[in-house]
């Protein structure tokens, strides 16, 4: 069951990820990216990260992507013009990418022998309770600094996006 779920959502994530890169229209890329984020949320659940999965759906697939789609609609961004690629890139691009990924997979397999099997429900440390406790004790200072970061980001976004005063 775990293997089937992993394979289904990993394939969805990879296909949507390829779609993000190859689609010419930004809105298609954005919708594919939402597919990647949704399937990654399911994979987080399989890894026992309940809180992160929910935050992924709410923050990433909800807030951030709505912001992206809003900007795409606002700027009325059209399809990207096709560019002629060189013959070398057309012929060698795909095989080199596949070779690179095969090499990376080989090294990951060699560095981390497959002793750890991920089973759903084996790790129960990712609940909101546990994450919250660690966040407000061990990671209290980073959490507070984060609030300053967000304040600066809000101010920066307002300053950048406002109309220039005469």
């Amino acid at each position: 069951m775990d293997v089937i779920l992993f394979l289904i959502f990993a394939i969805i994530a990879v296909v949507c990820g390829i779609n993000v890169v190859v689609q010419t229209h930004p809105i298609s890329s954005a919708l594919s990216l939402i597919g990647v984020m949704g399937s990654l949320a399911v994979l987080y659940l399989l890894l026992g990260a309940e809180f992160i999965a929910m935050a992924q759906v709410i923050v990433y697939a909800g807030a951030i992507m709505v912001l992206f789609i809003f900007v795409i609609m606002l700027l009325n961004a059209g399809a990207e013009a096709k560019r002629g690629r060189s013959l070398v890139a057309q012929l060698l691009g795909m095989p080199l990418l596949v070779a690179f990924l095969a090499l990376v997979s080989y090294f990951i397999q060699r560095l981390y022998p497959a002793t750890t099997l991920v089973q759903f429900g084996a790790f129960k440390g990712g609940t909101a309770q546990n994450v919250g406790r660690a966040l407000f004790t061990q990671y209290l200072l980073p959490f507070e600094v984060t609030s300053v970061l967000i304040l600066i980001a809000i101010l920066g976004a307002i300053v950048l996006a406002r109309k220039e005063l005469e």
């Binding site: 890169v21 930004p26 890894l47 923050v59 900007v71 990712g126 994450v131």
Partner: protein, 102 residues
């Protein structure tokens, strides 16, 4: 087989990160380039959560949480910058935004 090897998660993360890098390098639309960055951040989050599972600790989840927060702030500021660039130059093509180049 009962359960998925952890390496599969790491390989999936590497594949998604490579796709993000490819999109970052090859696309010309500034919004798509920005979305490729988000794809890379997501891939890194998957690695954090996978290692958190292996070590049976919650710390990786917190790193993923902070990455999300930074990504949200980055998206707000980045999209404001995109709006300003479009307002000043009426283009979204990153090849035409080159005033710092020469």
């Amino acid at each position: 087989m009962n359960g998925v090897p952890l390496t599969w998660y790491l390989i999936l993360s590497a594949v998604l990160f490579s796709l993000g890098v490819a999109g970052f390098l090859f696309r010309k639309n500034i919004i798509t380039v920005f979305m490729s960055i988000e794809l890379m951040l997501n891939a890194v989050n998957l690695t954090f959560v996978a290692f958190s599972y292996q070590l049976k600790q919650v710390n990786g989840h917190l790193f993923a949480f902070f990455v999300m927060v930074v990504a949200a702030a980055e998206a707000a500021v980045g999209l404001a910058i995109i709006l300003t660039v479009y307002k000043n130059r009426s283009t979204l093509n990153i090849d035409e935004v080159n005033s710092m180049k020469n």
